[in-house]
């Protein structure tokens, strides 16, 4: 299954490049095998190319537009969430599950990033059903059907039909 992992790694890597650029409006991201950078420096002839795929961990490097490439822990809160979304959507496009459930993934994002996130969800919805929980008005507008949940009776959840205006009002309840 080494060959299979290599295939997946390369396929996700290619897709990740695409989803990252769409979500950030530029820049790049890639997966690397742990120690790859070090290995290249050592250029150790005894370690054949084939062994490389055995049991080594995977790291993700990202470069938001105009910045230097860095490890993900140096990214900001919003940049990190957007990069994680890019990775999830890259895997999705390779092995599409029939539906995707998202619980407030847009919370750390600013409006520009929420806009690009919505555009991507919209495009993917041709093949995947999205069910998403959100507090963000822009993301609500993406939904073609909205489900309101209330607790008029404390402790007891009920469903109410809402349209966009009612949903936005609910935000300010």
């Amino acid at each position: 299954t080494r060959a299979r992992f290599r295939e997946t790694f390369e396929a996700v890597n290619a897709k990740l490049g695409e989803t990252f650029q769409q979500l950030f409006g530029g820049g790049e991201a890639r997966l690397e095998l742990q120690g790859d950078a070090q290995l290249a420096e050592q250029d150790d002839p005894t370690q054949t190319k084939q062994d490389r795929w055995l049991d080594r961990g995977v790291v993700l490097l990202a470069r938001p537009p105009g910045k230097k490439i860095s490890h993900i822990h140096l990214l900001s809160g919003g940049e990190k969430s957007l990069t994680a979304i890019a990775l999830v959507f890259a895997i999705f496009q390779l092995n599409p599950a029939p539906f995707c459930l998202l619980d407030e993934v847009d919370a750390p994002l600013d409006e520009a990033n929420v806009g690009r996130f919505c555009a991507m969800v919209q495009a993917m919805s041709a093949r995947v059903q999205f069910i998403f929980i959100t507090h963000n008005k822009t993301t609500m507008e993406l939904a073609r059907h909205l489900i309101g949940v209330t607790m008029r009776e404390a402790g007891v959840s009920r469903i109410v039909e809402v349209d966009l205006d009612a949903a936005v009002k609910m935000l300010d309840e």
Partner: protein
């Protein structure tokens, strides 16, 4: 295949029989803090076979059964049913479940920790439910709970978990996607 209807009764804060409809590809769920939004995602994971209480934000599996509120008494069981829609535009049934006209799964659980699973109304094992999702990005081959922990379901506050993971864990996620 897509989700069509979710029916809950006695599950977490949904004590009364409640129905959620998912009539299209883009469905939003909204409401104030603590009203029960994340509980609907927990219900979806639970009916698909999730067996870890911790992943359902509880300490034990009976934390999913309505535990009472200021006015109401606790109930004895939780029941969740999920109906799929798997006809394509031409009405033909597609995919691995074409042999079924309708497709619905149901899970009922009581306070003694026992869970019963049903496929189209007929009693079945948990493994039968897990097998339904195999290879769809929801299911996972290697024997753990059915795909409820897959990349297709992102719990609240967990989006960064994927990147905070150690390199070996990131590798495991990729292997699941293979």
């Amino acid at each position: 295949m897509r989700l069509a209807t979710l029916r809950l009764a006695g599950f977490k804060s949904f004590v009364d029989p409640t129905e959620l409809h998912f009539p299209c590809e883009l469905v939003g769920i909204v409401g104030p803090n603590g009203c029960g939004k994340s509980n609907t995602l927990d219900a979806l994971r639970w009916v698909m076979g999730e067996s870890s209480a911790k992943h359902l934000r509880g300490q034990s599996l009976d934390d999913v059964i309505f535990a009472g509120s200021g006015q109401r008494k606790p109930v004895a069981q939780a029941s969740v049913e999920l109906v799929f829609e798997h006809h394509d535009e031409s009405g033909a049934l597609q995919g691995p479940w074409a042999r079924f006209r309708d497709l619905s799964i149901r899970r009922v659980s009581t306070r003694d920790g026992q869970s019963k699973y049903f496929l189209n109304g007929t009693r079945c094992r948990r493994k039968d439910i897990a097998d339904l999702f195999l290879g769809t990005g929801l299911g996972r081959g290697h024997g753990s709970t059915s795909g409820t922990r897959s990349y297709a379901i992102i719990e609240q506050g967990q989006i960064n978990r994927l990147l905070d993971a150690r390199p070996e864990e990131l590798r495991a996620t990729l292997e699941e996607a293979a």
